[in-house]
């Protein structure tokens, strides 16, 4: 694949979700909002390597949603909580193109997943009278449970995972050269990587609202934050394509997740300015990689960029790119991103 063709494909694929939305940064009340989507990215990193670019294509496809309806009821219910849910799927792909002969994309991560979200909203405004000026400003409290009942991560290759292995007549990979597990080298050319996972995270957050820039009849989030904790499990035998024992021993199949984020609307030229921190603790990590993965990302989405923005991210810990699981990396990544969280809008109580 040539470099230019790949960049064009990535640009076109990434542009579709943003162009399809009327208000990419702020969702209207009643519309199906994007809450914690993975986002699409194209980026480079320092320190420099033989990477041409890295990309993540992750359009969120919302199948069933009641969060939109809930945003029409939160301010009506005064102090009563409003429950909602959303079911979505994300055909996520991560890829890295390398500055080698013919610029290979080696080996892409295919990461389709289903997501179920449950959200509970409540107006915490000290005002009790819906006619009082501060009533519609919130803050709105949100409990969010974000569950991935099924997520897949593979790289579409058919070679054996380690270089000292070959397939026997039954198609199983066996050691051709007996090698202690700690000395096995990963086959980075066509080694087969595959795992299925379950993930659940619970978040608590708040949103402060105002009506500047919101649709008619709405108050939109001006400032929001949330923090949460969760777990990811990669069980053996969980549907076809699940993790094999040899990979489980080195991948770190159980992970405790922490996350915190904050975003504000209308900061300088950013229609959305956001910061996001994530920490993963691999409870059974292999000695080759540290037990902690940390990333901190800052992003700015200019109001007139149709949902696109620029970002900088510090990442340190186990490489997240399929066959890189035995390596520890520290990178400062920077580039373009789009289709991210939308600021929720809430319908005011009618007169």
């Amino acid at each position: 694949m040539t470099r230019h063709a790949s960049l064009l494909t990535l640009f076109l694929l990434g542009a579709v979700p943003a162009a399809a939305q009327d208000t990419p940064l702020v969702s209207r009340s009643g519309a199906r909002p994007l809450v914690r989507p993975d986002g699409t990215y194209v980026f480079q990193h320092i320190p420099h390597s033989d990477l041409v670019f890295e990309g993540q294509i992750a359009p969120r496809i919302i199948i069933v949603d009641s969060i939109g309806r809930a945003t029409r009821n939160v301010l009506l219910e005064t102090k009563a909580p409003v429950w909602s849910y959303q079911v979505s799927t994300t055909p996520m792909v991560k890829l890295r193109m390398f500055d080698q002969t013919s610029n290979p994309v080696r080996t892409p991560s295919y990461m389709p997943k289903a997501t179920v979200q449950f959200a509970r909203f409540r107006n915490l405004s000290p005002e009790k009278d819906p006619d009082a000026e501060g009533f519609n400003r919130g803050p709105i409290e949100m409990w969010l449970v974000d569950v991935i009942p099924f997520g897949h991560h593979s790289n579409g290759q058919d070679g054996c995972l380690f270089t000292n292995q070959a397939r026997n007549e039954e198609g199983d990979c066996i050691d051709v050269v007996p090698t202690p597990p700690e000395d096995q080298a990963v086959n980075k050319k066509d080694g087969s990587f595959s795992t299925n996972y379950i993930e659940a995270m619970a978040f608590y957050g708040r949103m402060a609202l105002d009506s500047d820039g919101a649709a008619a009849g709405d108050y939109a989030t001006r400032l929001e934050w949330r923090a949460g904790i969760g777990i990811q499990l990669n069980p053996e035998g969980y549907v076809g394509g699940s993790i094999k024992p040899a990979l489980a021993d080195r991948y770190g199949p159980t992970r405790i997740l922490f996350g915190a984020s904050a975003a504000q609307r209308g900061v300088w030229r950013c229609g959305r300015a956001s910061a996001d921190a994530r920490l993963q603790w691999l409870t059974d990590n292999h000695p080759d990689v540290p037990a902690l993965i940390f990333q901190l990302e800052g992003a700015c989405f200019p109001s007139n960029w149709g949902g696109a923005g620029i970002f900088v991210r510090l990442y340190t810990g186990q490489d997240y790119y399929n066959l890189g699981f035995t390596e520890s990396i520290t990178r400062l990544q920077f580039g373009v991103t789009l289709q991210r969280d939308q600021f929720l809008s809430f319908r005011i109580k009618p007169n």
């Binding site: 006619d131 000026e133 519609n136 105002d210 009506s211 500047d212 820039g213 919101a214 649709a215 008619a216 009849g217 709405d218 108050y219 005011i348 007169n351």
Partner: protein, 102 residues
């Protein structure tokens, strides 16, 4: 966005002229308001601006003890104005969709 006001004024202790002054006073800081035939329309900045006007109108209704009843409705910018009476379209568009000519 813009808002439309439909109202009914009845005779009572407050003189009609005084009541009319009180209603217009609500909108005195909004220079893009106009009475088009049978419909009073007014450009509003945002939902909070609309709610503030609605609160002031409600206070007028309370102050005159039911002599003034109204329906004040918020519309998105560019949303069509529905009225049975003829009205000057160009004048209305300045309020209904001020960005359309830019």
């Amino acid at each position: 966005m813009y808002a439309t006001l439909s109202y009914d004024v009845s005779a009572g202790p407050t003189p009609i002229e005084e009541l009319r002054r009180m209603i217009l006073e609500v909108f005195e800081e909004h220079d893009t308001c106009d009475l088009l035939s049978d419909t009073f329309i007014c450009k509003v900045e945002n939902t909070a601006d609309y709610l503030a006007l609605a609160r002031k109108l409600r206070k007028v209704g309370t102050d005159v003890d039911g002599q003034f009843q109204f329906v004040f409705t918020l519309h998105s910018a560019g949303a069509p104005l529905r009225t049975n009476a003829p009205f000057p379209k160009a004048k209305a568009n300045d309020i209904l969709d001020p960005g359309a000519d830019e």
